[in-house]
């Protein structure tokens, strides 16, 4: 099989330079045993990978995607919904290459935009911020996000995945890893850490299910104990990797060794040694405004491509979401499930050899739905009421069909131009030329034959 061969060769050869490879591929040592493959699972998925990107709403990325619950026709957001709701409004518009800014996205902003369910505060909430203006009503489409839209065309797009908490990054990341808001009082890290919480990784570790937390540009010296040293750029790592706020995940080598740099992901994928469960977070390519969405898309593409070329592809599922809505407009009022959420919808995509092709999944989900899938698949206990009650993502799969071959998707939305094959023109014109030979050959041959016949008659 394709990937087994790749694994064998990959394990052999990391050498650079054609002459540096001393042995032929056939002499490669076997790949290390893939322990994740041996674990019993409820589905054919043996490797589940989840990535959390940053700060975009569903309508901001896929509001115009055909077949999805996107921006309703006629949408126009009132500039002043309280005093003059009908006087002036802003229509959703394509952002093109406009510079964007980091809009507010805390619980106050959520409440103002939500406006008791009227969903009309997306412009007014930023009225006093000229640098933001009406930017929240801007959106992207396939011109800006060709790879993500290609993924949606070929795999699964979820259009009802709500952020778990109606607030910013901290609590949403905790819901993602513990099924609970880390700090019930505010969207902030606790100075003393979160040792009181149970994480999905505790569950997995106890059950003997392999896991890793891959961190782009990982700095092992940044954790909740060192946060006070004022490494500004490191604060993102602290928020996006909740495990760095747990003493046990810092002190226990069995746990700490599983928090690794993203470069290990590529090695694990290539060698076919991915763990059963992989959590991933970005650093520079998070798509967090004002960062480049193109850089984020390239980052995600490289992760997905590495999985597709991995020996583990046949039994994998890769899902990515966005930790909060980033202040952007979304037209769906989120259901109220508890005091924390849901928040507005986030884009969410799934790539897997078992993913339905071009499927828009309308199941109501939140970040704990990923936990739910892990729990169901590997048979571990739920962490809290939220994940216990959540829908999982099984509806996005079709396990009755065999695993699909991977398709490396590009960053071009223009379908490859069908090769121009004017076969009829070619056949007709060249056929005429060849047929010319017939009369020009027959004429002299016929005259020679008749001459010979005449000679024969005379003799």
């Amino acid at each position: 099989m394709r990937r087994r061969l790749a694994a064998a060769v990959g394990a052999l050869a990391l050498a650079i330079g054609p002459g540096a490879v001393a042995a032929p591929a056939a002499a490669a040592p076997p790949a290390p045993p893939d322990s994740a493959q041996d674990l019993p699972t409820a589905t054919p998925i043996k490797h589940f990978l989840v990535l959390m990107q940053e700060n975009h709403s569903f309508d901001n990325y896929f509001g115009t995607y055909p077949g999805a619950d996107g921006i309703p026709k006629g949408t126009c957001m009132p500039v002043d919904p309280v005093h003059e709701p009908a006087s002036d409004c802003v229509r959703p518009y394509h952002l093109e290459e406009q510079a964007i800014t980091d809009m507010g996205h805390n619980s106050d902003v959520f409440d103002a935009e939500y406006d008791g369910g009227k969903m009309d505060g997306f412009v007014s909430v930023f009225a006093d911020q000229p640098t933001v203006g009406t930017r929240a009503m801007g959106h992207y489409d396939d011109r800006d996000l060709p790879f993500y839209w290609n993924v949606a065309d070929n795999y699964v797009l979820f259009d009802r995945l709500f952020t778990s908490a109606a607030t910013g990054s901290v609590n949403n990341h905790f819901f993602w890893t513990t099924a609970q808001a880390g700090n019930p009082d505010a969207d902030r890290l606790l100075p003393g850490g979160f040792d009181h919480l149970t994480t999905i990784f505790d569950r997995l570790q106890k059950a003997g299910v392999s896991w890793k937390f891959y961190v782009q540009n990982y700095r092992p010296n940044v954790n909740f104990r060192t946060a006070t040293t004022g490494i500004a750029e490191a604060s993102a790592q602290l928020v996006w990797v909740p495990l760095l706020s747990f003493n046990r995940f810092l002190d226990d080598p069995a746990l700490n060794s599983r928090i690794v740099d993203m470069s290990e992901y590529y090695k694990d994928a290539a060698a076919g040694t991915l763990p059963a469960v992989s959590f991933m977070v970005p650093f520079g390519a998070s798509e967090h405004p004002p960062g480049s969405i193109e850089a984020g898309e390239r980052f995600v593409r490289s992760l997905v491509s590495a999985l597709m070329t991995s020996p583990s592809w046949d039994s994998s599922a890769f899902m990515w979401t966005y930790d909060d809505w980033g202040g952007w407009y979304d037209h769906v009022a989120p259901p109220k499930v508890d005091r924390f959420g849901y928040g507005f919808r986030s884009p969410a995509l799934l790539v897997s050899p078992y993913a339905r092709k071009g499927h828009v999944d309308h199941t109501t989900l939140d970040f704990t739905s990923e936990l739910k899938f892990i729990e169901n698949n590997w048979g571990v206990e739920p962490l809290a009421s939220r994940d216990r009650a959540a829908n999982d993502i099984t509806s996005a799969f079709d396990f009755s069909a065999g695993p699909r071959e991977p398709v490396l998707l590009g960053r071009s939305r223009v379908p490859p131009e069908p090769a121009d094959t004017p076969a009829a023109t070619v056949y007709a014109s060249y056929g005429v030329a060849v047929s010319l030979l017939v009369p020009f050959l027959l004429a002299p041959l016929r005259s020679s034959a008749s001459r010979l016949r005449r000679k024969g008659v005379r003799s």
């Binding site: 990937r3 060769v9 054609p18 991977p406 070619v426 014109s429 060249y430 020679s448």
Partner: protein, 548 residues
Amino acid sequence: MTTTRGDGSNLGGARARPDVAGPGGRREEAAAGGAVGGWVTTLRRRSTRRYIGWAIVVAVPSLMLRLWAVDALGVNSDEAVYAGQAASLARDPAFLPFFPVFRAHPLLFQSLLSLEYRAFGVTTLGGRLLAVAFGMGTVWLTYAIGARLYGRRVGTLAALLVGVMPYTVVVSRQILLDTPMAFFAALALYLLIRYVQTDRATWLYASAVALGLSTLTKETAILLAGGIYAFFALTRKTRLRLGQAALAVAVLVLTVLPYPISLKLAGHTSTGGAFLTWQLLRRPNHTWWFYLQAVPPALGLGVVAVAVVGIVLMRRVLTWSEHLLLAWITVPCLFFEVWAVKGFQYLLPIAVPVAVLAAMVVVSVPLPQVRWRVAARTVTTAGLRAAVAVLLVASLAVTSWNRVQPDSGGSSFLAGTGGVPGGREAGEWIDANLPVGAELLALGPSMANILQFYGGHKVRALSVSPNPLYRNPVYEPVINPDLQIRQGNVQYLVWDSFSAGRSSFFSRRLLSFAERYHGRVVHQEFITATTDEGPVREPVITIYEVRS
């Protein structure tokens, strides 16, 4: 001193035997027989049996050399392009994205091959068998030309020489345009001879059509029109009337018209023009000595020597036949010697007249009659002639036999001489192992073509110049390959020793990309090289997976 000719004919043009065209020259009787009984009678005739016997003597080694392990090596770059074009014409979806129909040369051979592909599917063996069929057709035409000019013995020997000649054998085992082009060129020569012998203009027009078809196969065949012009300008044998010449030219133009017409109708007029511009402006790809070094050994040094020595000896008694054959040889030789772009197979059409001249010299050049006693045996002039003929045929056959062995065919990287080691295997590995949509960057376009043919993935080439003056217009340059890899548009790099040998600069550059972008060797192809310390496996193709 008494001189003899192989067929007992005298000098001064009577070497030509215009009415000899079939078994025993009794075609009229066979035609009169009509029914089955007539054929049986014909077959029982001794001359017919002898004719069939000689046909077998010629056909068996010719076929054997052309078919032996014919598909043992994968296609080379040019073969990949022509087979790919034919597959696209046959609308095979696996090739449509990678091989546009309109690239460079006309499409007669590709059109014929596409019909075969439509019927039997795309295989390299099918393409090569079609080329072999044209090669065998050329062998038969060589007989017809030799027999018509100098008699059946010359025709048979010439056919045998062409049948086992390394030049024709090696090229006709490949999906190249040159073998069918040489076939139509030989047909044009044969029909032209018929015209000169009979003075019937219809033969001339038929020759023009054949030359047109040769040009429709590969445009360089039009050079032979220069040979025809030179012949008519120099010969006293026949006077070409202006009206006939004009009509022949019109027929030639009419036959060639499908090339520009199909380009025009398909909206690809610029394709042909761009290719021509590039050919005119590109830098020389070989030295001035290339043809002298490459072609005579392929024709057979003995064959060339015999032909040259014979022509020199006969210089005072040359007839229109030799003039025509020499004109047919000289014009393309002169042109391609001057032309910057040189290719091993470009001179293939001269193989037929060279073989006919050599056979004529062996069979019928005037020689003193000898009768020597050597070791109780009598050596006669006829015996000497036979010995030279056997020597020539044997030397060619042995050389060809060595050349068609799979382990030797792949060791030469000269375009047109065989396959590229490991190319097919690497392409098949790509097809089986890389995900759909993966893009590769090879060192040069030759390997890129091969990998696209077998691998079914987009392969671009690092060495394709961004400067339109220095690249074949059908190839797409990779602008800023660094960025392409960094952005994930290229996921694999392909290093190969064939391209690296041609450009160490691009080899170093590609390897630097592999190093910079976490290159991981995912596949290699090896050949076994013989060294002082014994056989060593050397990598010829290495595929790296890269990421930013």
